[in-house]
């Protein structure tokens, strides 16, 4: 399944790397529910979030600057950062 990482830039303890925001990848696996560090870092209670591993092609992230476009990066992203494509 194809997903896009939201291109949001909120302040705070964000575990979504900046270099992936706005980029499109494929879901590699769903890991389960985890506490959301954006809240727990400030002792704010909140719902758990699904954690998802997403696979990106280097070409999608770095464009023509990619060392080899077909190489890949896999990253854990909390589901509220993902939108369907």
């Amino acid at each position: 399944m194809k997903v896009r990482v939201k291109s949001h830039w909120p302040p705070g303890h964000i575990r979504t790397p900046a270099y992936l925001r706005g980029k499109i990848g494929q879901i590699e696996r769903r890991i389960g529910l985890f506490n959301n560090p954006e809240g727990t870092a400030y002792r704010q209670p909140g719902p758990q979030r699904e954690l998802v591993r997403v696979r990106f092609r280097m070409a999608e992230i770095w464009g023509a600057r990619a060392e080899r476009g077909e190489d890949e990066i896999e990253v854990e992203i909390y589901s509220h950062w993902l939108e369907p494509v």
């Binding site: 890991i31 954690l51 992230i61 190489d71 854990e76 992203i77």
Partner: protein
Amino acid sequence: MPHDHHDHSHEGLSPSGHPYRADNDTDLSYWQVMEIALRELLIKKGHLTAAQIHAQVNAMDSRSPANGARVVARAWVDPEFKAALLDNAGEASRAMGFDIGPMHLIALENTDKVHNVVVCTLCSCYPRNLLGLPPDWYKSRAYRSRTVIEPRKVLSEFGLIIPEQMQVRVHDSTADMRYIVVPAQPEDSFGLSEGELVAWVTRDSMIGVSLPLAPQ
């Protein structure tokens, strides 16, 4: 104290030829003061004892890459264990008897088509509960930023050239999972026992920046 009064200099090298290291006589940093204050409060309020804290430090210091090497060596000789490891590396490591606490671990298998390498771009996440403390370079700004941009160049600086037709897969350890690479077993080591194979599995081969090596 015999060293309070002496007439030799601490410049240059010692009589046995090693360089002197400066004493740590500088003021405590902000974070060092914070750590001491927090630790003393936890003890004073009865949440923890000094002995408990020391026991945890000791437990962490006693973890080493040798633990991971035993896991990888078993995966090389035992296909059932390897399947379990790739399915849930945390449970498989616990089943071998390693106390890895609540760590969630994913094992990444290197094949003749895919080479895996692990980085944490946001900080320095590392499977410490199995492999112990990470190497200093793993925490450096250069390794953390470059590995997602030019992994092949970074690996070449470790002496590892990945053939053009092979896939490089970088794993950015951003959240709750930790990662261990299961390197492919070198042909030269086929037929060896599990115990002998442990010595081939280096720390760096489980991060993905090198391959297993024949013991010297």
